[in-house]
Symmetry: C2
Subunit: 367 residues, 2 copies
Amino acid sequence: MSKIDYKQAGVDYSKIDPLKILAQQAAAATAGNLARHGLHEVAASRGESAYVVDCGEFYLASITECLGTKALVADATRALTGRTYYGQIAQDTIAMAINDIVTVGATPVSVHAYWAAGGSEWFHDAQRAKDLVDGWRAACDACGVAWGGGETPALAGVVANDRIDLAASCVGLVRPKSRLTLGDRLGPGDAIVLLASSGIHANGVSLARKLAERLPAGYGTKLPSGALFGEALLAPTVLYSPVTEALAAAGIVPHYCANITGHGWRKVMRHGNAFTYRFHTLPPVPEVLTFLARETGSDDRAAYGNLNMGAGFALFVAAADAERTAMVAERAGVRAFVAGVVEAGPKQVVLEPLRLTFGADDLHVRA
Amino acid sequence: MSKIDYKQAGVDYSKIDPLKILAQQAAAATAGNLARHGLHEVAASRGESAYVVDCGEFYLASITECLGTKALVADATRALTGRTYYGQIAQDTIAMAINDIVTVGATPVSVHAYWAAGGSEWFHDAQRAKDLVDGWRAACDACGVAWGGGETPALAGVVANDRIDLAASCVGLVRPKSRLTLGDRLGPGDAIVLLASSGIHANGVSLARKLAERLPAGYGTKLPSGALFGEALLAPTVLYSPVTEALAAAGIVPHYCANITGHGWRKVMRHGNAFTYRFHTLPPVPEVLTFLARETGSDDRAAYGNLNMGAGFALFVAAADAERTAMVAERAGVRAFVAGVVEAGPKQVVLEPLRLTFGADDLHVRA
């Protein structure tokens, strides 16, 4: 089959990014407003995965994240199997927010739901609505957060007919303040512990949808294991806050964290400084990602540069804490791999087993 | 012209509400999760406009709110005048979150933007993007909040082509804790001070859009003052946090607050207890609402029951504080009216100048 790339799949980052940079600059300029309330922002959190405000005795972290287009996969797969998959979709949406806010060292406290439907009819499908509610609640329970409320608007004309735009916002506290993880302690010699993903999570979904359109059996295509392509895509995103909370309880404060989402393994080098991230070990690749990469003609560079390829979250810890970090993660129910090291050197990600290197020019996530 | 009601306008609350109730019940069941972190929820905030968690030395408040369909009015009016109106739209979106979170006594601290477009092309319109960014920043500055970050996804297939789904989340602190306003102090004898609206704000927009479809000149229809219907609808929502912060600085703690949005003046009786809210004074009605009510064949019951009709926010204060509350609001730049009183009696809103009463059966906002 011919290759599919991200532009074909409907996401053109060169068009989004100019606005994003304008917005980042304007947002940064509002920091001074906090002085009116005796507060100040933690400037190092600008460009990180969650925003952090210094409130004196504690830090306040906040984030809003959206699911993206994964609900379209659920809708299409339901047509084949009759199951709604909105329980999984709910977990995916919460994971987008939770897995970002924990990168700064925050304990997630409360979550708000944003469920914007294309019309009131969307909410009339009782099974789908129940699955969404039950899955949302279960994910909150798994993360120890309170579901504070949310919005369920019907937005005919804005949201597409019979579709839903799902997002979650999350608030967290960094207490004690020594738990703050913004990367100032990251340095050469640190170990990189990777936490396993369950599949595609919610990034690379546009590519998967494009592939489904091309496959004769679409989402009903059987993977080698017998699983349906659609169902394999819908394995819910792993929630990493049980791991970060267990690490805090064990007295391990990571030097940095990266949630591996869009830009795949290029996200490993999101820290502002120049370091070389060298991996000697790669986690097993979930079957659905091997299939997706092969069928879209993606080479290792394209696959690891855009998909998580088995690694959903990276913890950067003192070398002496590496093995214990992996053990704590495994006890919290997530497979973990002591996979690499941070070195002095140019900003790059080196995947030794694949003889593959991503340079600094491959990632632009900051203004 | 024949009447237009809300069902015709695409919002069917009877279809949304069953899911909403299911979600409210599931959300309430997650409260116990906070105990893991030594926190607990303020149960009285369930069903109020923002969620409140007791963090010991302070309360943490949070909210996510969406704009609704008002951007469609901007898009259509732009086709007539060439102006984008996304600066106003930005303020509307922030107002949805800010005006809710201040009802519980919180100082808004930070805001996240959620701008989900129907495709990357949306962000390529430089003027519109700049107006959105500039308006968002200006509204943050007006409210003294930091713009912490946000999401700008391109969601082809989920969000309608060339449209944008706009939402805002907000985090606030209630410090000192005595500022918490959840209505436990509300009682007979309290005065009701109404804060002026600027126009339709962001509720009743579906009705206005339906009307525009029917008018021969659509959004280009001239109001008696000469203003275009579309432009009048796009007067940005008043931001009320400057008033609530000024009241705190003046030592006035309201007994309760209600942001008057969907359900219009019926929202005045959103407090859980039974009281009679009697109004002797009604604020002037913005021209666009007079026009909308007349042209849609809405009588006073329909108009005041669904639109703000000049009152964007209600402050319930001790009678002795009423005049000073209005003065503080006016000094903060918002017209204010000492308009009514809270009385012992059945749950109802009585508009004496109109001989109009809304009973408890007219409002269902809680599970």
